[in-house]
């Protein structure tokens, strides 16, 4: 499920020192490890905290700017990220580029002092309310057999002239998804993220941050916790106990595996294969948890139910299929992971 958005919550959380934790103190961060951040994030997610406003910036954009950005970019973007103020969207997918991300058609053409962006991004979550997004685009012509060259990442203000945001309602009618059309959107040179032409490598490393964390196996955790809360005082039958045991054991195992991805990030590695393995497995598990709960309880999920549990189940039924799609489909993750296995 998607976390709620609450800019005030993000700001307060930042005052506690829990946003931008792993970023350097000189930019307003806290120089903590990825493991420290993991521990805070799992608490937030398991409590269903409304972290949507700062989530993308905290999970990936901040780290990518810190790792690849210019000094000027770090000074400009990291402090407001660490204050929980600045919100980011992800500008990767396009109408004709999903899993085959290197085929993006959005083009940056040289203009005086910068670049003009033309193209369309889709499935851009939160673009209608966020401040910025990072656009993956082609800044040099596609050469045969070398599609990973000539790509760049750009930091784009979502209120820039020439940029049009059209909402795409989710299957249940709720807002969140967008199409972002760019017509001659001017991006000054100083907003090219990191090095020109290094977009693919930077993007790959960004995906490692995006893929291996607790948000990839906790989406349906709240349902089980609520199930336990509702049944407190009534002994669970053997069947329910076995299901609960299966899920709890796997959460424990996935958590340890996911924690090892955070440790690898702390060791300076880019664990893209490991994080793909975790995400592929974790998101399938999130769906399995929902299915096993549905098999256990007698209910017809209803979004309007008076019961929190029933509303959570209804929301998970409707958003569940996205778990294994967003942030890289499980099919593409398998492809990434199997290359790493040496096949």
């Amino acid at each position: 499920m998607s976390a709620g958005k609450d800019a005030e919550f993000s700001r307060k959380l930042a005052q506690k020192g829990w946003v931008g934790m792993a970023l350097p103190t000189r930019y307003g961060g806290h120089d903590r490890t990825a493991v420290d951040r993991f521990v805070v994030v799992e608490e937030l997610l398991s409590h269903g905290a409304p972290i949507g406003h700062h989530w993308v910036a905290d999970r990936q954009t901040g780290s990518v700017i810190n790792r690849f950005g210019t000094e000027e970019q770090r000074e400009r973007f990291l402090p407001p990220i660490c204050r929980g103020e600045l919100s980011f969207s992800i500008g990767m997918s396009e109408p004709d580029s999903g899993s085959d991300l290197a085929s993006v058609a959005t083009r940056g053409t040289r203009a005086e002092g910068g670049w003009l962006l033309n193209g369309t991004k889709v499935w851009t979550s939160g673009a209608h309310e966020n401040d910025w997004f990072v656009v993956l685009c082609r800044t040099a012509p596609l050469e045969d057999g070398n599609k990973h060259q000539g790509l760049s990442q750009m930091l784009v203000d979502l209120s820039t002239e020439g940029l049009e945001i059209n909402g795409i309602p989710f299957l249940d009618g709720s807002p969140g998804f967008n199409e972002v059309v760019m017509n001659d959107v001017f991006v000054p040179d100083e907003l090219v993220l990191g090095a020109l032409g290094m977009g693919w490598a930077q993007n790959t490393s960004e995906l490692a941050y995006e893929r291996g964390g607790p948000d990839r196996w906790l989406s349906t955790y709240g349902i089980v916790e609520e199930f336990l809360r509702l049944n407190e005082g009534t002994p669970l039958g053997e069947r329910a106990a076995e299901t609960l045991g299966w899920a709890t054991a796997r959460w424990w195992g996935l958590r340890n595996l996911s924690l090892s991805v955070a440790r690898m990030i702390d060791e300076g590695k880019a664990p893209s294969i490991e994080s793909s393995l975790v995400k592929e497995m974790g998101t399938r598990f999130e769906q399995d948890v929902l299915q096993r709960v549905l098999e256990l309880v007698d209910l017809e999920p209803s979004p309007e139910s008076a019961s929190l549990f029933e509303r959570m189940v209804a929301a998970a039924v409707l958003t569940g299929p996205s778990f294994t799609i967003r942030g890289g489909t499980i099919e593409i993750l398998r492809s990434v992971a199997s290359k790493g296995l040496g096949s």
């Binding site: 809360r229 424990w252 595996l257 096949s343």
Partner: protein, 363 residues
Amino acid sequence: MTVLPEVDELLSESAERLFADTCSFDAVEAAEETGWAPEIWQAVADAGFAWIGLPEQAGGSGGSLADACEVLRIAGSFAAPIPLAETAVLGGWLLAQAGLALPDGAVTVVPGLRADTLAGSLADDGSLTLTGTAHRVPWAASADRIAVLVPASGSADGGVVAAVDPANVQIEAATNVAGEPRPRLTFDSLTIGADEVGQVDDPTTVQQLRLRGALSRTMLMAGALDAMSRLTVDYTSQRQQFGRPIGRFQAVQQHLVWGAQDAAITNMAAQVAAGHASNDLLGARFQIAAARTIAEGSAATATRGAHQAHGAMGMTQEYALHHLSRRLWAWRHEYAQPGEWSTEVGHQAEQAGAEGLYPLIAS
């Protein structure tokens, strides 16, 4: 955060080398045919691995339970056909707990199945008379001693441990689906002299043995899953069809990735559980039960995927996959009733309640 003991890398490396040198394809095949692998056992004993994790004053090699578990994990990855778990983690441990001497050779242990009728009566002179049958006692015919735990009738007491010479027991051959010896033993009013009988006062001994049993199979399965994943990746990168390695096909890649995940999560779970168990065995009930639950699920899915990826070749005796897959099919049933460990985790989660569930997951 609990600090878990780290296993010395040198220990893993030397165990890896030893099992690689001794557990060749032919050696594992021969062990299945004859029921015993004296050369492998001797090499493992000479290296001190057979008594790892047992205290030196009891005749063990020292080291922690985590060390013993790591060696077991590696033994599992080589399908080592020897009673290493029984000697180092189960039977040998029981003998040491009861103050009994460790024999020169292998030790096995009565796992204590529901079908067992084995009972013992302790005489005033300290001797113990055993009567009844015990099922599926690993390598009983090849062991120097069979460790038998007879729990005391009152739950506040521990029990009595006897070191039984297999020569005095009627042994009916039987194997598990991996062809490992799991004979049925009949004790016909067999009296064990007081010098081979020891008291254990700790009332948790039965529970500890059960946890150690589950942990030992978890470690073995973790190792086997890891080796099976690597074997499958290797095979599918060499086997060509339609002009390219079959591992390039997405349908086959799915088996490889799922197998690698089963191996990764089980190894992670097993090693974390071993660390907790090494610190405090009874305190590690949750971690052992969770790791055992994960291993059982992984054994089922990973063997299916590995066999599918190997095609007909994996179904033959001449190819090594069955050394691993058959063991996984056997080990998943040992020290586990169907659903036993997942239900145990479930009841622990139930006890933790809604507020305690995540802290349990993070433990």
